[in-house]
């Protein structure tokens, strides 16, 4: 029996060793990556200057046309991430501050995403390769239920989020295969879809009264003298539970309601996402109202 236990121990040890080596290798590759996604680009960047930084989910990513800001002389990047929540937006801003970004304005898309404080696995997982290299990221994930496993078990994080930071992503990062996430200064234009779903039901959705990550973003901006602009962005006409936006306004009076700036279905690719044409109308209005240009 002793021999068997020793045999198991040897295999276990080899497995741990392999896991440590792979963990190191994966992390090293992610640390070199700059052209895959917005997260690596920020994590692996140095100080930058922006007049406007846009944060939020896909409803930021697809709605704020960065070039239009640039045309008005405002250096801008759209850091909105499809599928992201405020959890990730807040972390992104923290990392920018840590890297000494000089930012004059932050525009935060704050509407549907106010309804939760959870990590969006698809996006949040992209920060995890850097968890040992950044105290900010480590602290941000500290309250996650499996933080200890993610932090202390070698390679566990890459197994758990294999679909996002697994071998496929490592391979593409290693060969520096570019994605389109940073094209158009981070803005991702949508086209009109024939079968786009022009209905939505948000009747059961409620904004959290004091969304932790929204408050975090607000406080970071205040502390760093960044002008904080929070806006609700448009949705199509056929939404059940449109009073959600009134509830947001009631809970967060400082958030500007731009939900009804664009209404017609022809400007929407799906109910929650405008086409490029819709995004341009919306962005023009934002630039005019907040930057007087």
């Amino acid at each position: 029996m002793k021999k068997f236990l020793f045999y198991i121990f040897k295999i276990f040890l080899v497995t741990v060793l392999v896991a440590v080596v792979l963990d190191g290798l994966y992390t090293y590759i992610f640390m070199q990556s700059k052209n895959r996604g917005k997260i690596e680009a920020v994590v692996n960047s140095e100080a930058k200057k922006y007049d406007v930084v846009i944060l939020g989910s896909s409803r930021a990513n697809n709605h704020f046309v960065s070039q239009m800001f640039e045309e008005k002389g405002l250096k801008t990047f759209n850091y909105g991430m499809s599928g992201g929540h405020l959890f990730e937006a807040s972390l992104m801003l923290k990392l920018m501050i840590e890297r000494k970004y000089e930012i004059k304005n932050v525009i935060l898309e704050a509407d549907l995403n106010l309804s939760n404080e959870k990590m969006a696995e698809g996006i949040g997982s992209l920060f995890i390769p850097f968890i040992h290299n950044s105290t900010i990221i480590k602290d941000h994930f500290k309250n996650e239920s499996d933080f200890n496993e993610l932090y202390y078990i070698p390679f566990y994080r890459y197994i758990k989020y294999d679909g996002k930071i697994g071998i496929r992503e490592v391979f593409f990062s290693a060969i520096h295969k570019k994605t389109n996430s940073q094209d158009n200064l981070g803005y991702y234009p949508l086209e009109k879809h024939k079968n786009g779903n022009m209905k939505n039901n948000i009747v059961n959705l409620n904004p959290l009264p004091h969304n932790k990550y929204y408050e975090e973003i607000k406080n970071i901006c205040k502390k760093n003298n960044i002008n904080f602009i929070a806006v609700m962005t448009p949705m199509c006409e056929n939404v059940v539970g449109m009073n959600y936006f009134d509830k947001v306004k009631k809970a967060y009076p400082e958030i500007y309601n731009y939900e009804n700036v664009v209404i017609e279905d022809k400007y929407f690719s799906s109910c929650g996402h405008m086409t490029d044409a819709g995004a341009r109308i919306f962005t023009a209005k934002i630039i005019k109202d907040f930057f007087n240009k």
Binding site: F4, T15, V18, L22, F155, I159, I167
Partner: protein, 475 residues
């Protein structure tokens, strides 16, 4: 509790420790512990179905003794048929009732009679097909006086509910398993090492081969109407490896786990995709089920003896039953029928036992012929898998039709090619081919290197999503 879950990774060492260090005084304590562990293991799925397992155990234990004790043929027959009918009755109600009810209703409706069937809203108890067949084989063997009835209830319970084989086999025989549970197991280093390696190999087949192939197979089968012919062909190949990795991976883990407790289970797979004809394939695929049907259905019906008509009838019965065993769906029956059609010519021209011996490959015509035979057998097996995987018969025929009306879309095809699979499949095939005379490719020569490489593959390419269940759990 899945074999590839964290819960099992905790459960197994605990049971192992208790088995060899605490309950190792006698075979009774060892067996009692394994029964408790098995019932806990089963109740993790759904504790409500535990009563079925316990009832089935009681029934076969009791009827087995009654058959042996009976002094008249009439009584023996009574207890025998009671056991058979109750066992098959449970299986019929839980697994087949809705199928028959809706099939009859459809038939009546097609004749113009409006019939709306009464359907049961029940889920299929996990492993019912497996433990029912355990019990059936035991009772049949007693009835035909091949074995003696087991009077020790603990020992018999363990034979039925032993957790490594409880939910997806292999389907054990009393003649093989009962003698092992009737003696105290002593720790055997070599056997335990083999078991551990077999678990690693099974895990590799499940989380690396099956689960990676599943992504592509599911995508192709789910969107088959928009796929070109080459993608559809690849879909069948992916599924062939998915089901092989899934089921044989499970069996390997089951065999490996059991070896850790000093108990050998029946070998369930013997590198089936290296078969040179379909008869050989069926001697290598799901061996415990094939041999069960052979011993308890095919041979009693006359087997390959008797007239050609009888032989054809027997072949069809065994293959159709085998298909139907997998599930209440016409697709499984069609799958069985196709395999019967594949097998019949070999039986009729008496070449079904041509390929018994293993042969090595060398640079000669005979080896080329052997490779062609292997590829041909794999090809026709893939065609049958289309029926197995399809949701209904119509889909299967439509799938095949789309393959035969040849179309090619390079962009679509690129989407179906995975570089991970290009790495892992050759590894599986090479390792299995070079070690095909061994029970597990990780045994013996270069065991250390093969094990470490396999572990690296598991870490690199494994899919550890708990949602990816084993396919055979549904049977």
């Amino acid at each position: 509790m899945f074999f590839n879950s964290t819960a099992f990774a905790i459960f197994l060492p605990i049971v192992f420790f208790l088995y060899w260090f605490v309950f190792n005084k006698s075979k009774s304590t060892q067996n009692a512990l394994l029964i408790v562990a098995s019932y806990y293991f089963y109740s993790c799925w759904d504790w409500r179905f535990l009563f079925l397992l316990v009832f089935s155990t009681f029934l076969d234990y009791f009827t087995g003794i009654q058959i042996e004790k009976s002094d008249s043929d009439k009584k023996r027959k009574f207890w025998f048929w009671l056991s058979i009918l109750v066992n098959l009755g449970f299986l019929g109600i839980f697994k087949y009732y809705n199928f028959f009810a809706s099939s009859f209703a459809e038939m009546f409706n097609s004749f113009g009679f409006k019939v709306s069937p009464f359907l049961l809203n029940v889920i299929l108890p996990v492993g019912i097909s497996f433990y029912t067949f355990h019990g059936l084989s035991y009772v049949i063997d007693i009835y035909y006086k091949r074995i003696k009835a087991e009077y020790n209830f603990i020992d018999y319970s363990l034979f039925v509910s032993y957790f490594p084989l409880l939910v997806a086999g292999p389907i054990e025989r009393a003649t093989h398993l009962l003698p092992q549970v009737k003696i105290k197991r002593e720790f055997n280093l070599e056997k335990a090492k083999e078991g551990f390696l077999q678990i690693i190999w099974g895990l590799f087949k499940k989380v690396v081969i099956a689960d990676n192939c599943a992504v592509y197979a599911n995508n192709i089968f789910d969107h088959y109407t928009s796929m070109d012919s080459v993608s559809l062909i690849m879909g069948t190949v992916y599924f062939a490896f998915q089901i092989y990795g899934d089921f044989s991976g499970y069996s390997d883990i089951a065999l490996g786990v059991s070896k850790l407790f000093g108990i050998d289970l029946l070998k369930n797979f013997n590198y089936p995709y290296f078969s040179r004809d379909i008869a050989e394939f069926w001697r290598r695929w799901h061996i415990s089920l094939s041999s069960w049907f052979r011993d308890y259905v095919y041979i009693p019906l006359g087997g390959s003896k008797g007239s050609k008509t009888i032989q054809v009838r027997n072949v069809f019965i065994i293959f159709l039953l085998s298909g139907f065993w997998h599930g209440a769906n016409w697709t499984y029956i069609a799958w069985g029928a196709i395999n019967a059609f594949y097998f019949l010519p070999l039986l009729l021209i008496k070449t079904n036992r041509n390929n018994i011996e293993e042969k090595a490959i060398s640079f000669n015509f005979s080896s080329l012929k052997m490779i062609c035979n292997i590829l041909f057998t794999f090809g026709i097996t893939c065609v049958a898998w289309i029926f197995f995987r399809s949701e209904n018969i119509h889909m299967a025929f439509e799938y095949i039709k789309r393959i035969t009306f040849f179309s090619f879309d390079l962009d679509g095809l690129k989407e179906q090619i995975s570089y991970i699979i290009i790495i892992i499949l050759p590894y599986l095939i090479l390792l299995e081919w070079n070690n095909r005379k061994k029970e597990c490719p990780l045994f013996d020569r270069y065991s250390g290197i093969k094990t470490i490489t396999t572990l690296i593959f598991i870490l690199l390419f494994g899919q550890f999503d708990i949602q990816s269940k084993f396919i055979y759990f549904q049977f």
